[in-house]
């Protein structure tokens, strides 16, 4: 299916199945909101959601009851506070219980690196003296065969499908993104299938300093979705809507207000592109 696709709806329909392990990555920047909203509209169920920094998008997906499990390292609203739908699911099982697999950022980043390299695990100095290993599987220790030093091992992440948002694709479906690049390259290369939404399709990708380029042949689908990262942002195209991140705190506190907001702003809309 490599190359440019007609619609986001088609890309989601072809790549996400009930019960899949799905990673929608983006570290504050380039968060694939439009793709996540399409997954919500297509009512996928029993997903294992993977992300270092589940923020508002995963709060929405958890609140809509799509997730059976969350694999993560920091679940908050950046600079604002807690995620109320995530909190309600963990504390009260609403709208359904949510299993957690919790790591540190360093652990999650290295798990993606191992997955991208098709290694079974990664090695780091991590989790020292914390209560995380006792509560999380996929963290263990390993002895260095050269020095004897005891190090931390974390199991590789291998999502069924990864979604990321990028600034540009060319007409052959090669993708380029720049600015804060997070762990998106590793997420794409660790997954079996990868979908990229882009701000713009251009004739030729112009090389940019520090940019990440993903050739079309490692991607399952590329779809033009201008503004597809909002209320996150795409450097060079849009600014982060900090006001919405602050407003979400009140919207998401109450179950009814949350549900009404989702009905009005996500379920009742059809994304062009």
């Amino acid at each position: 299916m490599s190359g440019l696709m007609g619609s986001l709806a088609e890309a989601v329909a072809c790549t996400v199945r009930d019960g899949d392990t799905v990673a929608l990555e983006g570290f504050t920047h380039l968060i694939p909101y439009a793709a996540g909203h399409e997954i919500i509209r297509q009512e996928r169920r029993d997903l294992t959601l993977v992300r270092m920094t589940p923020d508002i998008l995963y709060d929405q997906m958890i609140g809509m009851g799509m997730a059976a499990k969350l694999v993560f390292s920091w679940g908050g609203n950046p600079g604002v506070g807690s995620l109320h739908r995530f909190r309600d699911a963990v504390q009260n099982g609403w709208p359904r219980p949510l299993e957690l697999e919790e790591h540190s950022h360093a652990g999650m980043a290295n798990r993606y690196v191992a997955g991208a390299g098709r290694l079974p695990f990664a090695v780091l100095r991590g989790y020292a003296g914390t209560d995380l290993p006792a509560n999380t599987k996929n963290i263990d220790t390993i002895r260095c065969p050269f020095t004897g030093e005891e190090l931390t091992a974390v199991a590789a992440l291998r999502p069924d499908v990864a979604f990321v948002h990028a600034q540009q694709a060319d007409r052959d479906g090669n993708v380029q993104f720049w600015g804060i690049s997070g762990v998106q390259k590793e997420a794409v290369l660790s997954a079996d299938r990868a979908v990229v939404t882009v701000e713009e399709v251009v004739d030729h990708l112009e090389p940019r300093p520090g940019a990440v380029v993903l050739p079309a042949w490692v991607l399952t689908a590329v779809v033009a979705v201008p503004g597809g990262a909002a209320p996150s942002y795409a450097q060079g195209y849009s600014a982060r809507d900090n006001g919405f991140y602050q407003a979400w705190d009140a919207i998401s506190r109450d179950r009814d207000r949350f549900t009404a907001w989702m009905r009005e702003n996500v379920l009742g809309t059809v994304r062009k592109g």
């Binding site: 950022h105 980043a109 290295n110 997070g182």
Partner: protein, 239 residues
């Protein structure tokens, strides 16, 4: 009447702990405000590193999140998140880790994961993020936290990060030093705060230094820069 708020003197006291030319891994919120204040006052050569991979960020406005475009646009280098944690933090290149906390105990152990039990939490908090490795990989750790018996607890409900490199804790009431291998000791109280008031806001039997002193008053310069920074918080950078 004080001419500053308790949050302002906390931020000023925290900023003063960062020396010019140091490299600092900056957490969002109170630590970020203090680190930016330091860079705008006595430590213009302070290197700010945010875990979003923005190395040497020089924001003109205070970021709302660690991944604001302003940080990317002003950084010396932009690197991926795996590189941030492996090549820069784990490799020991950063002098200071600057962290917040939901709870801290007398040994400097931090909890930002849950209140109550892990399996059945009373309050589910955001979780670890970069804290476990920041706390174990930076040369020293400074914690900035508003103090009460809810945050200064005898025992943290969950150990999110280890306290063994915590050197200093700055609160809205005073300044604490962690004695090597030991516990947090009150060394300074902010103007107008008594040792008894600090004791009452501490969930363990507090040790007070023999030479307990008062935090030097914030200068007009420090307060002016801080208030200007706060006024810019979260203002979006232009695309």
């Amino acid at each position: 009447m004080m001419e500053w708020t308790s949050d302002e003197i906390m931020t000023v006291a925290a900023a003063r702990r960062l020396a010019d030319g140091e490299t600092c891994l900056v957490g969002i919120g109170l630590p970020s405000t203090a680190a930016n204040l330091a860079r705008r006052t006595h430590a213009p050569g302070l290197v700010l590193v945010y875990e979003s991979g923005t190395i040497g960020a020089k924001p003109a406005i205070l970021p709302l999140s660690i991944g604001d475009g302003e940080l990317a646009a002003t950084a010396d280098a932009l690197v991926s998140v795996p590189e941030t944690f492996n090549y820069w933090l784990q490799a020991g290149r950063l002098d200071v880790g600057f962290l917040g906390a939901a709870q801290i105990d007398r040994h400097g152990n931090i909890n930002s994961t849950v209140i109550g039990s892990y399996a059945q939490p009373d309050v589910r908090l955001p979780g670890a993020g970069g804290a476990p490795e920041i706390a174990s990989s930076c040369g020293r750790v400074i914690v900035v936290v508003r103090q009460s018996t809810r945050t200064f607890v005898d025992q943290v409900a969950f150990r999110t990060s280890l306290g063994h490199r915590v050197a200093t804790v700055i609160t809205d009431l005073g300044e604490f030093e962690r004695h090597p291998g030991g516990e947090l000791v009150l060394h300074r109280v902010h103007p107008g705060v008594t040792a008894d008031r600090v004791r009452a806001a501490t969930g363990w039997e507090l040790t007070i230094a023999d030479d307990l002193a008062e935090t030097p008053h914030p200068t007009a310069g420090e307060l002016g820069v801080l208030r200007h920074l706060e006024a810019t918080k979260g203002r979006a950078a232009q695309p």
